[in-house]
Symmetry: C2
Subunit: 437 residues, 2 copies
């Protein structure tokens, strides 16, 4: 495939007859882009869209054959290890700027995603499927079930590894959900995305996708997130699906393992894979061993506690089937044991929820660390009324996803509590290992 | 003051006639401890309480004069720089284990707090005042107003520095509140606490308090948090009051500056002070210049967005005077522009709140980074309906506290928006400085 190098001169309306000159390669445009739009990849890596008007002068000044790819070795590397399914679920990695409005648009198909990366396009052994094109913030628990089912189908069809492309905003919710829904996995299920769309020079789409293909070919038999590791742009980390969180609005290295180390790293330069900590390995389970359960209860609330939190906020939750609180510190909310005149305890309100059969689960807004009800009076009081989560080192997000999943197939409070506080898929780490100094 | 060294032998009821032997110095006990309780500081630093029973044998095996303090130099250092007020507002630093129940109890007076630290006790020039003894999680916006007023009184009375001791769980909410309430400060207002009570060998109470006294004597003229900096136990960081957050449930170095560097560090060994970044300096404002405004509106909600978030959750907020959302990524919630069948947009629900005059402010659950409504369709839609917070790099907590404060004295939506999005006391940093690579 040959790309034309263009010089485009745009006159402006101002008095000085200023002109803007853009040089770069013309690249295929998105189906939503207008017919009169030219998309140019500038030398700084950014794409721009220019409308052909009478004051726009276009000169062809060269040509490039993109089949001579800088990633020839990469392609060979991935070709050797075929049998991967890429399931596109939307998000920035499957998006590009729509030049008419300037907004970022999701691709419609996985094929369009692959088209962006000529070095992957030639690999016949990669299956692609478009699951849906949904913005990350529009993902719901029902989408988790749909993705899990698709992954399960591809595994039954003989996939040796799965890459799920997904928006980053709620990627860690989805990775936790797939971890609970797809147990005793025989192969890697790697979720990836991009913090910057592939139109931007600083896009992390290509690096994340290539590293994820390597992770999907590794001996990891877990659900994991593979994303940019550092501001050095030199590697990706592979994070356990239940222990990862988006920790920055915009940085490419936004994803961090919480309370554990990443499980592996992949160097971008040579796509080498290095194990960093223990994980479930391929070969332990076969496809037949696999346990698939994508039942979910999406009638669960996650509430954030803060100074001034009103007891009515808890009372309003009586229609939910379960509640997760992001409390303060070790897992606290106001209990007002010393009858302070300004403070309002919400202990009785929580107790009313629990007494009516609604499980209440504690997590901490500190993000890092472990819930501990045994240190302070407040914790003891919460434990006594039946709040779930003592000694659990989960994020609010993983606690929420787990409660949605547990409530998908369990109604008995004691069994719910037992299942919630038991480590199922690495979401609760051993207390001894992580004891504080 | 002399302490007796005791060896206490406790027989057990088991068949092997096992005995437990404890050696350590007997220390003064808390007023709530029972009459028959001996409190022993063990050589590992932990305190234990032992009930005198007939099977408990007590031998005096030595004596120590604690006036020969290892902190002689420290005392001299602090004495030189007198005029500090310590205002006790409860929390772990003002607590110790109540040996009858094993629970951690707050001290009743600031004097009791000081009694714990003989190296400070002798300094006549330190004023102490007990504001209240409230657990961190029981603090409300009304408490912020009370603390701010006390600080203001002490400044008017000539204090050269203020140390506020406070529970750590919600310390960063209080530090943000004091930052807005006490503007153009002539002196340092340093908030500190402890992650471990002073009964524990690993307590950070002494280090945090001593370093805070140094910070309170420095040229910082801001509200700041001074807490343990690292797991090396060698220093404390001073964090800007509006840019700090508790980021771990239990570690002593739980407090982190968010989106900026700490403003100073204090080495524990020699109590040396080092400026790390710019801050408002003493001498810029006099006591007369100071602006004190502790009016607060505590009818504000902070809600956390998550996949499966129901529109009704927003509708339930119509009785509030303001709402802060902790959205995903750059500041997103479900807007469902592509009409996905599972997804439920909450855009109309937010618009209804705004149209009825309730300001809605965006923050991000990623904690780190900056809100940006200009990148994605979702952000543009939120901006269009009037959601406040574009380009603000605040934490959900600081956004919440600021809205409480702004609504304390402003009712006009446009003025509220303008004041919210304007940097008042360092809560929004310059966009250029922190631009992402």
């Amino acid at each position: 495939m040959k790309l034309k190098r263009l010089r485009i001169t745009v006159a402006t309306a101002d008095e000085d007859k200023k002109r803007f000159i853009y040089e770069g390669y013309e690249i295929p445009k998105h189906q939503f882009s207008g017919k009169d739009i030219i998309v140019l990849k500038l030398d700084n890596g950014y794409n721009i869209g220019i409308r052909k008007r009478k004051d726009v002068k276009i000169d062809i000044i060269g040509e490039k054959d993109i089949s001579i790819s800088e990633y020839k070795n990469t392609t060979r590397e991935i070709k050797k290890r075929a049998g991967i399914s890429i399931l596109n679920c939307g998000g920035t990695i499957g998006s590009r700027i729509e030049y008419l409005t300037g907004a970022v648009f999701p691709y419609v198909t996985a094929q369009e995603l692959i088209r962006q990366f000529p070095e992957i396009k030639g690999i016949t052994n990669i299956k692609t499927e478009n699951v849906f094109s949904v913005l990350s913030e529009d993902i719901t628990p029902k989408h988790w079930s749909v993705i899990a089912e698709k992954v399960y189908e591809h595994i039954k069809d003989g996939a040796k590894g799965i890459v799920v492309t997904h928006g980053t905003d709620t990627m860690h919710y989805t990775s936790a959900a797939l971890s609970f829904m797809l147990r005793k996995l025989p192969i890697p299920v790697i979720i990836t995305g991009a913090q910057r769309s592939s139109d931007r020079g600083s896009s992390d789409a290509k690096m994340n996708l290539l590293c994820s293909l390597i992770a999907a070919n590794s001996d990891i038999a877990e659900v994991a997130v593979c994303m940019h590791a550092s501001i050095n742009d030199d590697k990706c980390y592979v994070h356990r699906g239940t222990k990862v969180r988006k920790m920055h609005t915009s940085r490419r290295n936004a994803f961090k393992s919480i309370n554990i180390n990443p499980i592996a790293e992949i160097m971008y330069k040579n796509l080498s894979f290095k194990k960093l900590s223990n994980y479930n390995q391929k070969g332990t389970y076969s496809v037949k061993d696999m346990r698939f359960d994508n039942r979910i209860n999406d009638n669960v609330a996650l509430v954030y506690y803060y100074p001034g939190f009103k007891p009515e906020m808890i009372n309003n939750l009586s229609e939910y089937d379960g509640v997760v609180i992001a409390g303060t510190g070790l897992g606290h909310v106001s209990t007002n044991p010393f009858n302070d005149k300004y403070s309002k305890s919400i202990l009785d309100n929580i107790k009313m929820l629990i007494d009516s059969g609604i499980p209440v689960v504690m997590s901490s807004q500190t993000i890092f660390g472990r819930i501990n009800f045994n240190v302070y009076t407040t914790g003891r009081m919460l434990k006594e009324i039946g709040v779930i989560g003592n000694f659990c080192d989960w994020t609010p997000e993983t606690a929420y996803v787990k409660l949605c999943w547990v409530l998908g197939h369990e109604k008995d409070y004691d069994k719910i509590r037992k299942e919630m506080e038991m480590n199922l898929v690495g979401e609760i780490t051993d207390r001894i290992v992580l004891i504080d100094r």
